[in-house]
């Protein structure tokens, strides 16, 4: 029998459940020495009591209070990925179809842009023709409407005064319309009060 009592750190090894081969003689000693067995038992009481200590619960609103102070920042690449993911169909077949359709559309647009770039003169010429046609059509429409509403003499007067006459006519029309609306509104309110 080994008559040397266990050292405090050797008791700790046993309490911690260490499994090294050096622990075997310590265990054997415990079986033979009542003093050391009692010391080990006392040490285990403390450890058992500690290990039974419960976790304590904080206030249930802790998470909300924390999150109110934590700036949550979504990086640009994550936001972009999320957007793509949101638009992407769920099923594999639909996803393949979407990718094919998207690639085709992108390729077509690219080709169209290339074609237009190669024919810059033709695009400028076509743009000019379309713009002239549109402005001529608009001026003709305005003249027809003025003729129908105010007659040929008014049209001649506007033609004589030019842009100033046309502007005065438009402002006068707008003022008359606004005054009419306001007057009607006031009449309606007065009728309700009565």
């Amino acid at each position: 029998m080994n008559h040397r009592h266990l050292l405090p750190n050797e008791i700790d090894l046993l309490v911690d459940g260490e499994a090294g081969f050096g622990v075997a003689p310590l265990r054997a000693h415990i079986l033979e020495c009542r003093d050391c067995e009692a010391r080990l038992s006392d040490a285990r009481v403390v450890v058992d009591a500690l290990e039974r200590l419960p976790h304590l619960a904080p206030d249930s609103r802790l998470a909300d209070r924390v999150m109110a102070q934590v700036p949550v920042f979504v990086p640009a690449h994550v936001a972009a990925r999320d957007t793509v993911t949101r638009w992407m169909p769920r099923s594999a077949a639909a996803r393949v179809a979407a990718i094919v359709a998207g690639t085709s559309a992108a390729a077509s647009l690219t080709l169209a842009m290339l074609w237009l770039a190669m024919r810059g003169d033709a695009v400028v010429f076509m743009g000019g023709v379309v713009s002239d046609r549109l402005s001529a059509g608009f001026a003709s429409g305005v003249r027809e409407v003025t003729l129908a509403l105010l007659g040929p003499s008014a049209l001649a007067a506007i033609g004589a005064t030019g842009a100033l006459g046309a502007s005065l006519l438009v402002v006068g029309f707008a003022l008359t319309a606004v005054c009419t609306v306001l007057g009607l509104r006031r009449l309606t309110l007065a009728g309700r009060r009565a």
Binding site: V46, A49, L53, H55
Partner: protein, 200 residues
């Protein structure tokens, strides 16, 4: 789209990665996982419920606001406990407290305030008697823990309440391994003496 169920099954490192992508649910998952261990550690360090609530909140705000500084080579919980311990120790350095109550804050001025500051003990006691005995023993050991030096307290809590290894505790608290072993040995010795005194 993230679902809570998905998050609950992910390891800490993955949840942290999602939190770094700005996912609110991932932040909340990290809080849900560790609010009780962190609060328990902090409370047993400062021994005041309201103060522990505030320090726990500070800990999580610091951690979640600086997640980009987390080194994934280490366990997330070790980093979290390190910050919680630092927050508590910093507070203790500024203010010395020496009483403990499981039944309400010592600073509560009214019966309502005492009731409001009582603990919800997260315990699996099988019966009312078990619960009472556990509470009684818990109270004794809680009082004994309160008498320990703060460094001993954090070591012993991490070892026996959180089940951390000596090496993890050394990493978490930035202490040499030998110092951790010494602190835990001395803490056990002091607790044993305190419990013996109670039994007498």
């Amino acid at each position: 789209m993230l679902r809570t169920l998905d998050l609950a099954n992910l390891p800490d490192a993955d949840v942290v990665a999602l939190a770094l992508e700005g996912r609110d649910a991932a932040h909340r998952e990290l809080i849900a996982r560790y609010e009780r261990p962190v609060f328990s550690l902090v409370f047993r360090m400062v021994r005041d419920r309201e103060l522990a609530e505030d320090l726990t909140q500070d800990t999580f705000v610091k951690v979640l606001s600086h997640l980009d500084r987390y080194n994934a080579d280490f366990k997330f919980s070790s980093w979290l406990f390190k910050i919680a311990n630092n927050v508590a120790i910093d507070h203790l350095r500024r203010r010395q407290l020496d009483t403990v109550s499981m039944d309400g804050s010592p600073h509560a001025m009214t019966a309502d305030a005492v009731e409001a500051s009582r603990f919800d003990v997260a315990d699996d006691a099988e019966s009312a008697l078990d619960e009472m005995e556990a509470r009684e023993l818990g109270s004794v050991i809680e009082r004994a823990i309160a008498t320990l030096r703060p460094e001993y307290r954090s070591c012993i809590m991490l070892r026996h309440v959180e089940g951390r290894s000596y090496e993890e505790i050394a990493t978490t608290l930035d202490l040499p391994l030998g110092t951790v072993k010494t602190y835990i040995h001395r803490a056990r010795h002091e607790l044993r003496r305190a419990l013996e005194h109670t039994r007498e």
